[in-house]
Structure formats: structure tokens, C-alpha cells
Symmetry: C2
Subunit: 408 residues, 2 copies
């Protein structure tokens, strides 16, 4: 039983990535009680901070105590009654996840798909909505499995026109790519901390519009053992999960402070600090930092003679897919980067398994030194595998991006 001792990895995969040191410090804070005014004040402050992160006025903005997929499941099982139609446009692994979670809720799940490496045009989604008339549109913004960023700005208006609730998961993209809850008329959004927000997995911020809240609240049910006479029964089909019952979780985060779970205080402290890190640096500056780091990594990869994956016009700023060149052992490269240089890059899933690496530039690691370390280490490891490249070209190209950005 030795003390925890971990190697100093530089995490340049698709997430999780290294936490901001301030986030780690915040998570070492001693607890107070869950209904202590000091705690409930921080709960309220965290709600306010995430309204700013999500760019929303939504009152119902808080944390789900679990990893990012806990947020997804909470949103979907709380709104989807058995038999409800949901449309899931799929452009990567996480689209399948949304569909699967909705299926398990016994929703009537309809999917449309584009090949991995592409995104949907709004017209494709509108056509499917007209045809299917779903209660909910569920789509991810950024899918790390393909590195693609689905444009969402036109979908809210389409959803309003056809009276569809618009849900999106922005775990992979938030903080590194624009996200506008209110402007885009998003009805519910969930995220995690472990990508561009620079925290650990384990807390899932969520924000819900009044329309979405209404759809959930009609299923409201207070649990036996803490139910008082003024609590009335549910109108809609009872939400199948207690843990993910957003109606009850709203009561916990609301004025009534009705006991549900015991808030995961350490994760709340971490979540709060992620928001503070983003907002005190400035949302626009953080976005620009991610765009520069992502472009520098992309240009560096290309300068090394490597080919990026997918439709680059729709790539997330914070991750790039890189084809593993012929004759190169992709797993050996990852192994060498990890064991020689303490640098982690990502492998891939499903149809891309064994075909591409995924290299991230997220949160704390969206930094010039992290980009340069990664490019020169990748060059060294590839050279030792016999892959020939122009020496130093990756780093030079990345530095040129930073120089241009500095001049601009």
C-alpha cells in the first residue's frame, strides 16, 4: 500500500487530458455538510458559472454526479417516455451511444447516418424531422471518434418549427469550440469536464430550457420516505431511473433542497474551478487558444507528411485524426511515445480501429509547448520505425502557426 505514484504523462489523446493545476488544488478542499449554507452557496454559484459556460439564461443549469454519459442518460431518460419518438443523427460512436441509451428507455428510436468523417447538413436533419415527427432530436456536437464538429446553429429553429425538443451532448467540444445554448435554441445540453474544460471525468454539467423542464416536470415524482402531503403524484409516465430523475434533481438544486443524492462535493469543487478557469481566462481567449493549438497540430502533422482524417472544414479545434502510414505499426508508435516520452496519443474505435491515431490539444494542454513536444516526439518515433520525413518540418509548421497568430 504505497502512496499513489503516477508518471508525469502529457495527455495528447482525445481525452481525458491533464487537469488544470488549479482544478486539482480545488479538489483537495476539505468538505462541509451538504446543506451547509457555505455548500449551497457554492452550488448556486456553480449554477451561475455554468450558465455563463453554456451561454444561457436557463435557471435549470447544474451538475449530474457521474461521468459525461451520466448526463446523457439523465437527459434522455427524464424526457423520453416509452414509445416516444426520438431522432438521432449519427456521425460517430457517440451517436450510437445516444441511440442506445434512448433504446434502453424504450423510446421509438429513429436514426440517420453519414459516413464517419462527415457531418449532417441542416436540410438532412429537417427532412428526417418532417418524416419522423419526433418528440426529441438528440445529436452530439463533437464526436471524438471521428473528430467531427456538427454545426448546430441552424437546428434550433428547425426544432421549434416542428415542435421538437433539441438535445445535444457537447462533452467533446465545449470550451474548445463555440457553444451557444440560447442563441441556437438548444433545449438541453450535457457535457463532461475531461476535454477542453480541463478537469477530470466524474461530473456532468447540464442546462435545460423551460420547454425541456416542462416535459420533465410533468413526470415529477417525490420519493417515498421524504414525501410530504404537499407533494403530489406524477402526471406523465414515471421516470424509470431514480438517480437520473431530473425532476427530483431539480428539487435538490432548487429552493426546496429536497434530499436526493448526497452531492459529490469534491467533483463540485472541481467543476466549479473548471468554469472559473474558463471564464477568468475569457471564453473567447480560450476558444482562440484551442483553435491555434489545433491548427498548429494539424499543420505540423501535414508537414510531417501525414494525412489528417475526415472533413477538415468540420473538424473540432481540439482533436485531429491522423492516418497511420503504411508500414508503420500504429500501436508501437503509441507505445514508444508513452514509454520514451511520457506522451499519450489516442487509438480509435469501430470502423477506424487500427487506421488512425487521434491527437488532442485540449484544455490545459492546448499550449504551444505541448504541441511542439508532441510533434517532435512523434517525428523521432516515426523515424526510428523507418518512416522518412523532412527533419523538423512538423515543429517548424506548428511554430509558424503560432508566429502568425502572434503577429495577427
Amino acid at each position: 500500500m504505497q502512496p499513489l505514484t503516477l508518471p508525469p504523462r502529457l495527455l495528447m489523446g482525445p481525452g481525458p487530458i491533464n487537469c488544470y493545476p488549479r482544478v486539482l488544488q480545488a479538489m483537495a478542499t476539505q468538505l462541509v455538510g451538504q446543506y451547509d449554507p457555505a455548500m449551497t452557496d457554492y452550488m448556486n454559484e456553480t449554477m451561475a458559472l455554468y450558465r455563463r459556460v453554456f451561454n444561457t439564461q436557463n435557471q435549470q443549469t447544474f451538475l449530474i454526479d457521474g461521468t459525461s454519459r451520466a448526463g446523457i442518460e439523465a437527459a434522455l431518460v427524464s424526457v423520453l417516455e416509452p414509445g416516444d419518438k426520438v431522432l438521432v443523427p449519427i456521425f460517430g460512436r457517440f451517436g450510437y451511444l445516444l441511440a442506445e441509451i434512448a433504446e434502453r428507455a424504450d423510446a421509438d428510436v429513429h436514426t440517420i447516418e453519414v459516413p464517419w468523417g462527415e457531418v449532417f447538413a441542416p436540410e438532412q436533419i429537417e427532412e428526417a424531422i418532417k418524416r419522423i415527427r419526433p418528440k426529441v432530436l438528440a445529436i452530439v456536437q463533437g464526436d471524438t471518434s471521428t473528430t467531427m464538429l456538427q454545426p448546430l446553429d441552424a437546428l434550433g429553429a428547425i426544432c421549434r418549427e416542428y415542435d421538437v425538443l433539441f438535445y445535444t451532448d457537447a462533452t467533446a467540444s465545449i470550451g474548445g469550440n463555440p457553444f451557444e445554448t440560447d442563441k441556437w435554441q438548444v433545449d438541453a445540453v450535457t457535457v463532461g469536464l475531461q476535454k477542453c474544460l480541463g478537469g477530470p471525468s466524474g461530473s456532468a454539467p447540464i442546462s435545460m430550457s423551460d420547454r425541456f423542464v416542462q416535459a420533465v416536470r410533468r413526470r415529477h415524482h417525490v420519493e417515498a420516505g421524504i414525501r410530504d402531503s404537499h407533494h403530489t403524484g406524477a402526471k406523465g409516465a414515471r421516470i424509470r431511473s431514480n438517480y437520473f430523475d431530473l425532476a427530483m434533481i431539480m428539487d435538490y438544486w432548487g429552493d426546496e433542497r429536497l434530499n436526493h443524492h448526497t452531492e459529490a462535493a469534491t467533483m463540485l469543487f472541481g467543476s466549479r474551478e473548471c468554469a472559473v478557469a474558463l471564464l477568468s481566462e475569457g471564453q473567447d481567449d480560450v476558444l482562440a487558444r484551442h483553435q491555434t493549438a489545433g491548427l498548429a497540430m494539424l499543420r505540423g502533422i501535414q508537414a510531417l507528411g501525414l494525412t489528417p482524417f475526415g472533413d477538415l472544414k468540420h473538424k473540432m479545434s481540439n482533436v485531429v485524426g491522423v492516418y497511420i502510414p503504411d508500414g508503420v505499426d500504429g500501436e508501437q508508435v503509441r507505445h514508444d511515445l508513452l514509454h520514451l516520452f511520457n506522451i499519450e496519443i489516442g487509438t480509435s474505435f469501430g470502423p477506424l480501429k487500427g487506421k488512425i491515431w487521434r491527437i488532442g490539444t485540449m484544455g490545459y494542454n492546448a499550449r504551444q509547448d505541448a504541441v511542439l513536444h508532441t510533434l517532435q516526439s512523434l517525428e523521432t518515433v516515426l523515424r526510428r520505425q523507418g518512416f522518412s520525413m523532412p527533419a523538423g518540418a512538423g515543429v517548424d509548421a506548428a511554430m509558424a502557426v503560432y508566429a502568425g497568430q502572434a503577429q495577427g
Copy 2:
């Protein structure tokens, strides 16, 4: 956006309580990747440590990423198919919670109840099992709402006799009261960190016997997007939750390391350290420390002329219910303790609301100084409310317990 600043509370309620400082330190550790050998080694080590905490040989011993009720829901929704009979003996709020979670899974839920402040005799449970013939018996070991500790040692044999799966939640009791998974033939147990284990809420250790694992595995289903040709479909009714699908979570913690959620690494570091704290101090010594602190608090309370709640033969070591005396404003006492002395004690739920306080002595706070501070502060606050007591009697009685223990 000021740095996180919390008052130095002494948390003497029914939990959460103050974390061990070593646990807080562990949670400030920088991350590594989720499939990094350094990470998976710690995952394996954490499994081994919790086998020792649970006193079991069960291979399937790991963490659910959520608060303690996430563990409860994972166990129940993974084993209970719609229509399956479950027996829930209820002796407090958390019994209702088990029943409610099982109801939401559309199980056929049968309950038996004893008044708050009592526990069940094994014969009562056996009689109900014979009558109902459930697939699962679900019962909590310690229910903080009543402070009672249900004896479990005879229930495993009864469950085996009638081919019932025996599930228990030991969140409130583990670490402060004996728990013997294998000796008691428990098929599944879930806990949280925020009581006697001295960590924060947000991680739920679980252990499952082979019988329980078998009942879950027949419902095994690998999610689309990561499914390979060698993954076959489910045999039993598909588990309704993706997040709480223990069959998939076993694949993630097992050799296949099949991607499910992204492990909440910070909570894992905290969970591991809770186990290390318990096991390096020694399980028997930690139990004795809780028993002494709990007895000292009880004797102190009685010496102050206050009346403890419930059947003291079956009280958990780590929490005592205390009747609020006539003429005393219970909430004012709690307010004064918090704001004058930075000490938190607990209020109550349901039928006990407004009638008793709950005072805990758990984990890091199962210490003589914490007991004495609480007793003398309670005395001061009560005296200022006009309640008359023999001066210093609470502290004297508690010190006598510690003196006896030291001599013994």
C-alpha cells in the same frame, strides 16, 4: 470568482463527514490516460483493496462512478428484470429508496416494515421469503435515518436455502461496523465513501458474488459502435440503463477493458486512498475506534440528560439519534452549533422530522477530540436555551469511556 473558501467545519452529522487529509491529497493527483498501464494497474489494485474492505474473494469488486445511490441503482437494475419479484424489508428511509428504485425498474416489489427505530428478526424475513419467493432480497445494513443496524449474518443462509439473491447496501455502516461479504453469503453489496470510509460522496464501491454476476451476465449486451463480431447479443431482458449496466462495467474493469464510461480518475484516487486508510490502520482497529467513539458519544448524550432514539442494541456504532427535549428549538441548536462552533449535527427525515437530531462519529471524525468538542458545544448551546444539565457531565462520561477503553 474568488478561490474556493470554506469554513473549517467539524462534520458530526450522519454524513458526509470530513475526509481523511490523505484522501484529499490523493484527489489532487494529476491524471494519466484511462488505458495507461499506470491507470489500469491502479484500477486492479483498487479492486484488490476493496476485496479486503468487503472481506470477500469476489473477482467482481470495483467502483461505480456516482454517489452511493448510483451503486444501489446499478445493482438493482442490472439484476431485476421487469416482473421479477424482490423483497425489501424496510426499517427506515433507505429501505423506501431500495423499493422505489426497484419499482422504477418495474420489478414486482414486496415490502415488509418494522417501526422506525427497530430492525428485523431473521425469522420475519424468512417468513416473507417463504411467502413471496422473491428473486432478490434487498435490504440496507445501516439506515442513517433511524441509526439502526440490521443484523445480516443469518440472512445469507436463508437466501441460499430459498435460492434468493441477497443484496445489501452498507453505505452508512461499512468501516464502522463489521461487514463480512463471504462469511454472510452476501451476493451483492454497494457502499459509498462519505461515511466511515472518510472520503467524499461520488464513488460507489460494489462487490458481487458469482451467482449475482451470472444473473447479470445473461443480460449482457455490448453497445453499438464498439461491438465486434465476437460479441454476441443478450440472452435475458436488456438492462434498461447503459450507465448502470454492470455487465458492461465488468467488461471495462476486466481484461477486455472494453470502453464504457471514462473512469472518474480523481474519485478512483480518493476511493483507493479510503481503502488504504482503513487497511493500513487495520480494519479491527478502525472498528474499535468507531465503537469507542460511538459509545463515548452515547454515554455523553445520556449524561447530559438527553434521550437516545431507538433500540440501542441495534444502533450503528457511528451515529446516534437524540430526542430534541421539550422546550428546545432543535433547529436553533443546530444553527448555533454551526455558526458559533463550526460543528454540524444532523436533522431528520419523515416520521422523525423535528423530533430527533442525528449525531455521527465517523471515519476521520471518530476521534476523542471530536466527540468532546461536540458534547461540550452541545452543552453550551442547550444551556443558553435554558435547558438545565449537570455541568460537564457529557464530557466526563465520554472521557470515562475513553479511559476504560485505554485501560482495557
